[in-house]
């Protein structure tokens, strides 16, 4: 942070420290002085900027977990090195943390003495008037007839006070200073940054973020086990989850159908939900992409959507091996071609369970090579096609270990329908599987919404500190801080008045301010001379 210009000599931080032999205490002192010096702060700032770069080049666990997996698969050797350097978690890594913690310690070490200094300066009178004005960056003088020294002095004080200067008389001169707000703003800005950091740190512990994929018609209950994934903060406990339920009644999606250049581009997502609080009545709400639902201290965001084919797998005896809406993952945004896995465990024979992997083409079209693609993202009875490979064996649900629902481990399984002869179903169709495995029915295709549920009690505090920081930043950069002096001297019958100004920090308008001061002072004088009694 920039130091006040009058503090130039009170900290020796920029001076090279030459000490031949240092004791432990001196070393500590030297270290502290170096750390809190301006040059170190600047280097730490630049180091922070440089350290932030790799996080934008390498996928991060926090923002792009799938990217991390892809990166690791593509560069197995390199990713070990990257991982050892916490390259997939740059912003929580030890080296990134070290830089910003040092930066903040340096900042605190700089702010505290400046706070003291400023506190004293705020209560001190402006400094003595310098003896020679000509060496100051802006000065002028005028010979005024028909005024007394006392009148000129009074007028000078009046003009400076009305321009909101703090004034002090030293003999026949007025010394004035304004713009204390500049330093106050500077200190506020830097202190508020510390506040932001603390609020984020402490508040982060009470935060939780969870994801839930919810097919239309299904209900989510805010319990730890209901989430597909949950990232709790340090101070999270089961009590942190506010009890409520949320049912997705309908997800409306509009696609562009007129503009050829943007055909199939999504125009609107609207999730219609029914919520229920304990001892409450069911309430209907709407969640949109930029418009989350606030409920029981949490915010529910609509962050994704997709298709969930409603599938029934029947055994040869007619009993049900699997039934339900299976969320598929969109692989192509514009056409909503989606990839998914269906696992049918209840075949009566753990060695003959059924696993299916394949694509859903919302608006299917056959390519010349016989493969399929989707040409529009919406689903319809005659146009939608589900095309899957079928495997027979253990689908791996019985082992009790968590499994990725979008993946099927086909090792040890026998392929009964492959890419050449896939199982192809339109909505409402049923096909019999070979090998006496029963049949598969595509009852329909539901939509699902991907919700993110967040609870962050520290947001208000962070916002408060950010607001203070902005306030401080603007005053510290835009309020000019300057000193002004008016000196009055009797010269024969006339009075010689000298004006001078000194900027403290960047002040492009100093010269203008001095000439304005002179003008205003003159404007005050004749009136004062004519009516000496009228002191308002």
């Amino acid at each position: 942070m920039s130091r006040p210009s009058d503090a130039q000599n009170s900290f020796a931080d920029d001076a090279p420290v030459v000490n031949p032999r240092l004791g432990a205490l001196e070393w500590v002192r030297w270290g502290w002085r170096t750390l809190t010096s301006m040059r170190t702060a600047l280097l730490l700032l630049l180091a922070l900027a440089v350290a932030a770069v790799p996080g934008s080049l390498i996928p991060q666990h926090s923002s792009d977990p799938n990217g991390v997996i892809q990166y690791q698969q593509a560069n197995p050797g390199l990713s070990k090195v990257v991982d050892a350097l916490q390259g997939f978690d740059v912003y929580t890594s030890f080296w990134f943390s070290a830089i910003y913690l040092l930066l903040f310690i340096s900042l605190i070490g700089c702010v505290v003495p400046r706070l003291k200094h400023h506190w004293k300066a705020l209560r001190k009178a402006p400094p003595r008037t310098p003896s020679r004005f000509t060496q100051l960056p802006a000065s002028s003088s005028a010979v005024l007839p028909g005024v007394t020294v006392a009148q000129a002095m009074d007028a000078a004080e009046r003009v400076l006070r009305s321009a909101r200067y703090r004034t002090a008389r030293y003999g026949d001169s007025v010394s004035a200073e304004r713009g204390y707000l500049r330093e106050s703003g500077n200190l506020l800005f830097h202190s508020a940054l510390v506040g932001v950091l603390l609020a984020v740190f402490v508040g982060g512990g009470f935060t939780y973020t969870g994801q839930k994929i919810l097919p239309a018609g299904q209900t989510f209950v805010n319990l730890q086990t209901s989430y597909d994934s949950l990232n709790p903060g340090r101070f999270f406990s089961d009590d942190s989850l506010a009890p409520y339920s949320l049912r997705l009644d309908r997800l409306d999606v509009k696609y562009e159908q007129q503009n050829v250049a943007a055909l199939g581009q999504p125009l609107d997502y609207t999730a219609h939900v029914t919520t229920l609080l304990p001892n409450g009545k069911p309430e209907q709400h709407v969640i949109k992409v930029n418009d989350p639902l606030e409920i029981a201290g949490t915010s529910v965001y609509l962050l994704g959507n997709g298709y969930a084919p409603d599938i029934t797998v029947r055994n040869t005896d007619g009993s049900i091996a699997f039934q339900g809406a299976v969320p598929f993952r969109p692989t192509e945004g514009t056409t909503m071609t989606s990839l998914g896995v269906v696992k049918a465990p209840d075949t009566g024979n753990p060695k003959k369970q059924i696993g299916m992997v394949g694509f859903l083409y919302p608006t299917a079209a056959e390519r010349t090579d016989g493969s399929f693609t989707s040409i529009f993202p919406s689903v319809g009875r005659s146009q939608t096609l589900l095309s899957m490979q079928v495997f027979e064996g253990d689908v791996g649900l019985d082992a009790g270990t968590p499994k990725n629902v979008y993946e099927l481990d086909t090792t040890g399984m026998k392929q009964v329908m492959g890419i050449k002869n896939p199982l192809q179903l339109k909505i409402g169709e049923t096909r019999t599987l070979p090998d006496g495995l029963g049949s598969v029915t595509l009852n329909g295709v539901d939509r699902y919404a991907a919700f993110d549920i967040h609870h962050d009690p520290s947001q208000g505090l962070v916002a408060l500190f950010v607001g203070l920081a902005v306030l401080g930043l603007i005053t510290s950069l835009l309020v000019p801080r300057r000193r002004m002096w008016i000196k009055v001297r009797q010269e024969g019958d006339d009075v010689l008045v000298e004006y001078a100004g000194l900027a403290r920090g960047d002040d492009p308008n100093l010269v203008r301010a001095v000439s304005e001061l002179e003008r205003n002072h003159h404007a005050q004088l004749p009136a004062a001379a004519r009516e000496p009694a009228a002191v308002r």
Partner: protein, 331 residues
């Protein structure tokens, strides 16, 4: 089916590029003339020197043509005036192109990279022209119009997309605020960056002069000295920095509405942060012994390089939520 308004907008934009290009030539001519003028000044001084028979050496001479910052400023400079007039015409065409594009799309004309480049460069030009009413910065005409022609050329050739509706993620009034403030900040940083670049040239010139080597860029004698350039760059950067701070905060608030977190180290967030930190470093460098002057000017330029990188490279080659694509899970 091509939107006719968009077609007119593109025609207007191409005309604007052509006019800016001619303005660039006019500004370049002005710079060439400055060079000749200052040569004439040097010759004049040298001749006087010879007549007087002074014992001063050539070194002093080269420092001699002083550049009073205010003196040559409001001089006629016909080529520069032509440049300014052409830039004004270009800006009018440019603004019409942006307005028509917005009308064609039925929203603000800055929802994708092409539109962002179009409106962003318009704001650069407007900031430059408005600054002109208070300061004589015509010597920056050539670099500014040159940069704008380059950016607009690249964006019409490589980034042009047909008018398309706003994806749900961008349907927010924060799009108006966040992006507008970002473009304004970029406009100020552009001007400040150009000033710092000229400052560095000015410093190099005076160093050459001090070491007695022949002067290279004589036109620099007709523009403000390094100290004044640095002060101007600082004042303009301060405005840019405040605007950039608002960009960062508005972005965080919007991110909190759209994605459920105010900060997530998305690539674009990272680069906005990097830019903010580099410019914060620049402001601090001005108050640090040994950094003020050349060091801080370099930091200003590094900051601007980050802005260009953020716009040109991060947008196109990096993955992230800011790819204007809509929802993150594959939509």
């Amino acid at each position: 089916m091509v939107n006719p308004l968009d077609q007119i907008s593109e025609l207007l934009l191409i005309s604007a590029i052509v006019v800016y290009a001619i303005a660039f030539i006019a500004f370049a001519l002005d710079l060439a003339r400055r060079s000749a003028e200052s040569q004439a000044q040097v010759d004049l001084v040298r001749r006087q020197d010879a007549v007087v028979g002074s014992s001063r050496g050539g070194t002093a001479l080269l420092e001699a043509p002083p550049a009073p910052p205010a003196a040559p400023t409001r001089s006629r400079r016909p080529a520069a005036r032509t440049g300014i007039a052409l830039t004004l015409i270009g800006a009018a065409l440019h603004a019409s192109a942006a307005v028509l594009r917005g009308t064609a799309a039925g929203r603000v004309p800055w929802a994708n990279m092409y539109e962002f480049a179009m409106t962003g460069t318009l704001i650069m030009v407007v900031v430059f022209l408005v600054a002109q009413t208070r300061l004589d910065l015509r010597f920056l005409g050539a670099p500014i119009t040159g940069l704008v022609v380059l950016l607009l050329g690249i964006s019409t050739v490589s980034f042009h997309v047909a008018v398309s509706p706003l994806p749900p993620a961008l349907q927010s009034y924060w799009l108006v605020l966040h992006v507008l403030v970002a473009m304004l900040g970029t406009g100020f940083f552009t001007l400040a960056g150009a000033l710092s670049a000229v400052q560095l040239l000015q410093v190099r010139r005076s160093r050459r002069a001090e070491s007695g080597r022949p002067e290279r860029m004589k036109l620099l004698a007709t523009i403000p000295d390094a100290e004044r350039l640095e002060n101007l760059a600082y004042r303009i950067s301060v405005v840019g920095f405040i605007l950039w701070t608002f960009t960062l905060i508005a972005g965080a608030i919007w991110a909190n509405h759209a994605w459920g977190r105010y900060w997530g180290w998305d690539t674009k967030e990272v680069w906005t942060f990097i830019i903010w930190v580099v410019y914060a470093g620049y402001l601090h460098a001005r108050a640090t012994l040994g950094w003020r002057g050349t060091g801080s000017a370099w930091l200003n330029l590094i900051g601007y390089a980050c802005i260009l990188f953020n716009f040109g490279v991060v947008n196109v080659f990096f993955h992230g939520l800011h790819s204007y694509s809509g929802l993150p899970t594959g939509q």
